[in-house]
């Protein structure tokens, strides 16, 4: 790149970063503001955090979110990894159609999944609760796990598995001693991805959980609908800081050329 082009792009990128971060930083700033109105600075306080930490609703919602996310992660990781192994190893009739099927959850709008599940629960006369969110969460996460693990498998040297088999290991032994340790980083990245998708998911939870089973994003939504309140700023600030920590922690491993992870 020419020097001049580079300078222009540099300035431009600074602007985009400002676009990303100025709103977030202002949001965080006002969580320490000593005023209820929330958009005029009057003084520094930790009051909103104190108030937030005595909010039992918030902790209940956090607990619900974690509960759903953990179950989703376990199920999606197992199902997605199995699917990836099959896709990597076998050719079978209908592979292309099934491949297409796995693309759907990647692109499908969450509102379609949400109302479709709501409709089928209605048809089955099921009462909505907390666990009714899990089928949808898992359904949209499986493909992400599968694609991440598949990418890892693609970089695998097949001769290692062949060597194990030649040396007399059966399929089970080969899998647990050779294949699994080699794809483990991919499986872990897939699991992290499923966990993050689930924790972050709002629309499916909004439609498919029952009253009183709020997840954290659903609680945030209902708080924001009521208007600006520094307590939301405090909660948002904590959530953003957790993401900063998570991003730094997974750091270079999690950033991949891909959108959501893959190691």
């Amino acid at each position: 790149m020419r020097q001049r082009t580079k300078r222009i792009l540099f300035g431009y990128s600074l602007l985009i970063f400002a676009f990303f971060y100025v709103p977030i930083i202002i949001l965080m700033m006002f969580s320490f503001n000593d005023s209820k109105i929330g958009t005029v600075w009057t003084g520094f306080t930790f009051d909103w955090y104190v108030k937030l930490f005595s909010n039992t609703q918030m902790f209940g919602a956090l607990q619900n979110s974690l509960y759903i996310a953990v179950i989703t992660t376990v199920l999606a990781t197992i199902l997605g990894t199995m699917a990836a192994l099959v896709f990597h190893r076998y050719n079978f009739p209908g592979k292309k159609a099934i491949d297409f099927l796995f693309y759907i959850p990647v692109v499908i709008p969450d509102i379609v999944v949400a109302v479709a599940l709501l409709a089928i629960y209605g048809f089955l006369d099921m009462t909505l609760g907390l666990i009714t969110a899990i089928p949808g969460h898992v359904a949209i996460s499986i493909s992400f796990v599968m694609f991440v693990v598949l990418a890892r498998l693609a970089g695998l040297d097949d001769s290692l598995e062949e060597a194990a088999k030649d040396l007399g290991a059966n399929e089970w032994q080969t899998f647990w001693r050779i294949t699994f340790p080699l794809i483990f980083p991919g499986v872990l990245a897939g699991a992290l991805l499923a966990f993050t998708i689930s924790i972050d998911e709002f629309v499916i939870s909004f439609f498919t959980t029952g009253p009183g089973s709020n997840t954290l994003p659903v609680l945030v939504y209902s708080m924001v609908r009521l208007g600006v309140s520094p307590e939301i700023n405090a909660l948002s600030t904590i959530m953003i800081l957790l993401i900063v920590i998570a991003v730094l922690f997974t750091g270079r491993k999690m950033i991949s050329p891909n959108k959501k992870g893959e190691e």
Partner: protein, 283 residues
């Protein structure tokens, strides 16, 4: 061979069954609902009717449909134009590349609701922007920044820009530099090299970016919900209200099926114009 195929199917079956039970069948079911007769308050009479689709395209909702399509297309184009040079810069930022990418990941992973809330604080009638402008004496009355198409576009672009940046970044980053050198050696100007080499080679990333920006943008309801207080509507709002408030399941289902058609179409296009290794740009 037979045993292998059987093996493949049996290992695939858990995820297939899950997707069939909780994705395919429910979506087919709302497809069925969309063609049934509405008896009011969530009533479903299994008698064929195209009423819901007629309603969806009636003047009442057609405006919302076109509006959603228009806004989300505009937002997608804006995202593409904004994202490409930005992604290009990051991909060429040398030792800073990883840090800059981390800085993109933070807004990417931050919940959309929180990021929209940040804009409420800015755009509000008593918000930061209005306060600032009034203090500077530029305006005497607060501008109505929220509750406007402007706010919707800001929300859509701010919400989905990272979705566009990351696949484009990935495709630029993985570009084989020797093609660029070859083009240069053969005497092409930098502009020509960009237009005839870089741009076509990064097409899979661009296509993936367009799909994963446009599809959520056209179907989102929280942007209009939060930034216009429900004053302006997108198709997602109509679906949500049809299911939760008006209890018109036929209409909600018909609109969802229309979105679904859009999704299937974009997958077909993506699979047609890219190869299997390009799917990484999509996730």
């Amino acid at each position: 061979m037979d045993r292998m195929i059987k093996n493949a199917y049996s290992m695939l079956s858990p995820s297939l069954i899950w997707l069939l039970l909780f994705l395919v069948i429910p979506v087919i079911y709302i497809g069925v609902i969309s063609f049934t007769t509405n008896t009011g308050f969530g009533g479903i009479l299994y008698e064929f009717s195209t009423e819901a689709y007629t309603a969806a395209f009636s003047s009442l909702y057609a405006k919302v449909l076109w509006q959603s399509l228009g806004w989300s297309l505009l937002a997608t184009v804006l995202c593409l134009v904004i994202a490409y040079p930005f992604a290009y810069y990051i991909a060429h930022a040398g030792k800073w590349k990883n840090l800059l990418l981390l800085l993109v990941m933070v807004p990417f992973w931050t919940n959309l609701l929180i990021r929209l809330y940040a804009w409420i604080i800015l755009l509000n009638n008593h918000g930061v922007i209005n306060n600032l402008l009034m203090k500077l004496g530029i305006i005497s009355e607060p501008l109505s920044l929220m509750y406007s198409p402007f706010a919707v576009i800001i929300g859509l672009v701010y919400g989905f820009l990272p979705f566009m940046i990351l696949p484009i970044y990935a495709s630029i980053e993985q570009l084989d530099r020797s093609y660029l050198e070859a083009s240069e050696d053969l005497g092409a100007s930098p502009v020509k090299t960009f237009l005839y080499v870089t741009l076509p080679l990064t097409f899979p990333g661009i296509l993936a970016g367009i799909i994963i920006t446009f599809v959520p943008a056209v179907s989102v309801f929280v942007v209009t919900d939060l930034l216009t207080g429900g004053k302006l509507l997108m198709v997602g709002n109509v679906i949500k209200d049809a299911f939760l408030i008006e209890m018109n399941w036929q209409l909600g289902s018909a609109l969802s099926i229309l979105l679904m058609v859009l999704v299937l179409l974009s997958i077909v296009i993506f699979m047609k114009f890219t190869s299997g290794k390009d799917r990484k740009f999509l996730i």
